[in-house]
Amino acid sequence: MSYYEEKDLARFGEIGAFRQDLADKFFDYYTAATGTDGALSKREKALIALALAHAKQCPYCIDAYTTQCLEAGADPEQMTEAMHVAAAMEAGMALVHGVQMHNALKKQGAM
């Protein structure tokens, strides 16, 4: 048994067992933000969510948004590009701290 159970995604609504009013507000907001065509299409939103799912490494979200992307008409190439955007951003966010390292090196007189 893994810590994350695939079937548990379908139980997401159970977070409303206490303070259902707050859960309702969240789910309404979530549906409005991700599940409708707006200035961005549902497909574009699904690809953003898939990229974020990889960056945050959420197995539930990767399952859900792989399906969501397909059902919004995306193909594996688009989904893979979204994943690379997330990966590149993660790499960039690590590497830009190299400037911080340079600052520290200079302060030590080592650069």
Binding site: D37, S41, K42, R43, T67, L70, E71, A72, G73, D75, P76, E77
Partner: protein, 330 residues
């Protein structure tokens, strides 16, 4: 039977719980499956058609279909399917005679059959586009995606490229061109166990991509849901996904789509003359509920008196925006 399987919803019970009583309406389309022979053997084919199949409609049954069409003005459409129906030796006769009866003729044309030699006698099929155009046939062709990957994965390596070549031949004769009157409609179905995207949005994507990348035009895109039967069911079972997929279809039940299901306005005829509510029931060997479910035995006047035969696969036609031989139903 697993615990999950025991909880699978029943289609008839679902209809009942929604207060839906889906009776046949006016039957406008006669869909005839004249052969299971095909030049392709696609992964999701609900007919399990291939170059090895031998089932073929006899002259007597073809004549009976034409006789029914001639005596039944309300049957406005003849929808010819297979296999690749063009491979049947009497295909062109059937089209010509139906046209002379004033019927609208639709052909489920797989595109590659024009370019491949006939699997039995190696004859060239290159004349098909011209024949379609001369007879004002509505051409309905499967193209599972506007890029090669999903199309070739489902229909075989190189099928996408051949399909584009064939579409260009149809376009050159006026098919899909504005005001030509020659209808060319494409069919999308998902490459796996998921529901189709919105039909209008996907049609816009197809039109843009096919025009920009290949100079190909068409009229409408029909989005179809994969039916959990035959080869697709086998692939779902191999992946351990069958019950999950059925649950997904049932969970997406849409009463509006249910009211528009094609079995209310269509009757399907098997190669041997047996009558079915639809092509899917035909492949599951579920004939219409009439005492003698055969085209030689039961005249069209009695077809409306039947009760449609439903099964769990029917959730495929009622999920989301619905699915029929002409795409979404809601």
């Amino acid at each position: 039977m697993s615990a999950t399987c025991q909880t699978l919803p029943d289609f008839a019970t679902t209809l009942q719980s929604k207060g839906l009583n889906l009776l046949p309406l006016k039957i406008e389309t006669l869909q005839v499956n004249i052969t299971k022979l095909c030049n392709q053997a696609c992964l999701h084919c609900h007919v399990a058609a291939s170059p090895k199949r031998t089932e073929s409609m006899s002259d007597a049954i073809l004549a009976a279909c034409l006789d029914v069409l001639s005596k039944t003005p309300s049957l406005r459409n003849l929808d010819i399917t297979g296999g690749a129906p063009e491979l049947h030796p009497r295909f062109q006769d059937l089209v010509s005679q139906a046209k002379s009866l004033g019927k609208h003729v639709m052909v489920r044309h797989n595109l590659t059959v024009t370019l491949d030699p006939h699997p039995l006698n190696q004859a060239s099929m290159a004349d098909l586009p011209r024949f379609f155009a001369q007879n004002q046939v509505e051409v309905i062709s499967s193209l599972p995606y506007y890029q090669p990957y999903f199309t070739n994965r489902q229909r075989g390596q190189g099928v996408f490229e051949k399909s584009i070549e064939s579409l260009k031949l149809l376009n050159a004769l006026g098919y899909g061109q504005a005001d030509s009157g020659l209808q060319l409609n494409l069919v999308y179905n998902p490459a796996g166990a998921f529901l189709p995207a919105d039909q209008a949005a996907l049609q816009a994507d197809y039109k843009k991509a096919l025009k920009e990348q290949y100079g190909v035009v068409f009229n409408q895109l029909f989005t179809l849901t994969n039916m959990p039967i035959q080869r697709f069911r086998e692939s779902l079972e191999r992946l351990g996904n069958y019950e999950t997929y059925l649950q997904k279809l049932a969970g997406a039940f849409n009463p509006l789509a249910a009211e528009g299901v094609m079995c209310r306005s269509l009757l399907s005829v098997g190669y041997d003359g047996t009558l079915y509510d639809c092509d899917f029931n035909q492949m599951l060997d579920l004939p219409v509920e009439l005492p003698r479910p055969h085209i030689l035995d039961t005249p069209p006047e009695q077809w409306l008196q039947r009760k449609i035969v439903f099964g769990s696969h029917c959730f495929g036609c009622t999920a989301g925006a619905g699915s029929s031989c002409t795409g979404a139903t809601s």
